[in-house]
Symmetry: none
Subunit: 240 residues, 2 copies
Amino acid sequence: MSQNLRAALDARKVILLVGSCSVRYEGRASSVLGLGERMIIIKRDRSVLVHRPEGYEPVNWQPPNSHIDVQETGEGLAVIATRGSEMLEIRFNGIPQIHSFTLVDDARFEMYATESEMKTAVMLAPDLIEEGFQPLADERAVFRTGRLDIFGRDKNGRLVVVELKKRQATREDILQLQRYVESLGRELGGGPRAIIAAPSISRRAAAACSQSGVEFKCLTPRMCTEVLRKKIRGLDPFLT
Amino acid sequence: MSQNLRAALDARKVILLVGSCSVRYEGRASSVLGLGERMIIIKRDRSVLVHRPEGYEPVNWQPPNSHIDVQETGEGLAVIATRGSEMLEIRFNGIPQIHSFTLVDDARFEMYATESEMKTAVMLAPDLIEEGFQPLADERAVFRTGRLDIFGRDKNGRLVVVELKKRQATREDILQLQRYVESLGRELGGGPRAIIAAPSISRRAAAACSQSGVEFKCLTPRMCTEVLRKKIRGLDPFLT
DNA sequence: ACTTTTATTTCGCCG
DNA sequence: CGGCGAAGTAAAAGT
């Protein structure tokens, strides 16, 4: 009966075992869990998760690249996952349900704070851009729309245009900002400072900066999220 | 087709969905995950886990007590789990496999101390080793590293080296300790006592003890946990 | 209820 | 490869 399981393991499938089992762990700590019905997941990379019917976290687990041994004892199936000096032992009371899946998942996972959130953060904590920076209005209609930027004055009273990017700033970003600032300069007469705030900047974008006078300020989504967590403590959910 | 799922939710079953889906999260941060095949677990307590075919951690999740909404769109099934201001959206490409389980699990999970905790317990209650034992320093760099042991003096002022094991002491443990104490004796000139503290000792390890003069002291992780529970009541978290 | 600390943390980055 | 810090940390323990 354990052939199914071994075959699925060999085939690098994702495996789900459901049944009554007891669990023991020895390693950085030790733990014991008596009989009960649980879901056990064995992934392609040989990570093992033991999930009880409640709770976000697995009650026991083994990280990827563990060695998985399947035994058929008198009492039923046993799965032992060892990894270095750590051992996870799952003893089923009988034969569990065995499901296996061939999952194809090549998608990229992308995580970010939204640009909108970054803007909110800068409005709440302008020093994220530079000390003494004071936002004036958070938007302004120019020729091109769809931009998310901030107008303000620096500590010397000079006009500043800030453009936010949640990803690495590209040369194209710099050129766009430069064109924008130029048209703004023609309109207003003064030459405002231009700052691109992004988590990083590409080599060529940096070169474009030094040519055009655009300044780069490192600002990560994480920094913004941090500020938001601190500032939005009991108020201002109406800023968005 | 979504009736199955709704019924399982109402029946407070543990649910597994397997299929091709895209995932979006909005909350403390934002994330996007394109189409791919995943396992989604919805537990009795309305916690939600999205697991890719590899990796220990869920790529996305929602903690317990989230509100779960099931929609049947033109493209397929969608599950939206909201919790406070956080939202997790799982859009299936078609109808996923729907498995549901009624799991009964009333067992108690018990975790025993790590060796590090055992050390803390002995530092707090040296009598666990023997009456009158007084720890001096809790570590000492010798040739081999990675050891967790304790130096001290017994009630007669004689130097004592204590090695802790959370499992049955093996012959190898005794030999190691013996070698260690010998090198220490050469370094310091005096012959310190050597104590191995473990929950039990193997037959051959006991023999090695009587040959080498290493002493065995029964000390279980549970005894240490007990001491820690009693002693660490309002102080001394700075011992580690 | 809120704050602080822990974790078999895991995971990523950087030297 | 080891140390250091962040996490949508979650969960437990203390206040």
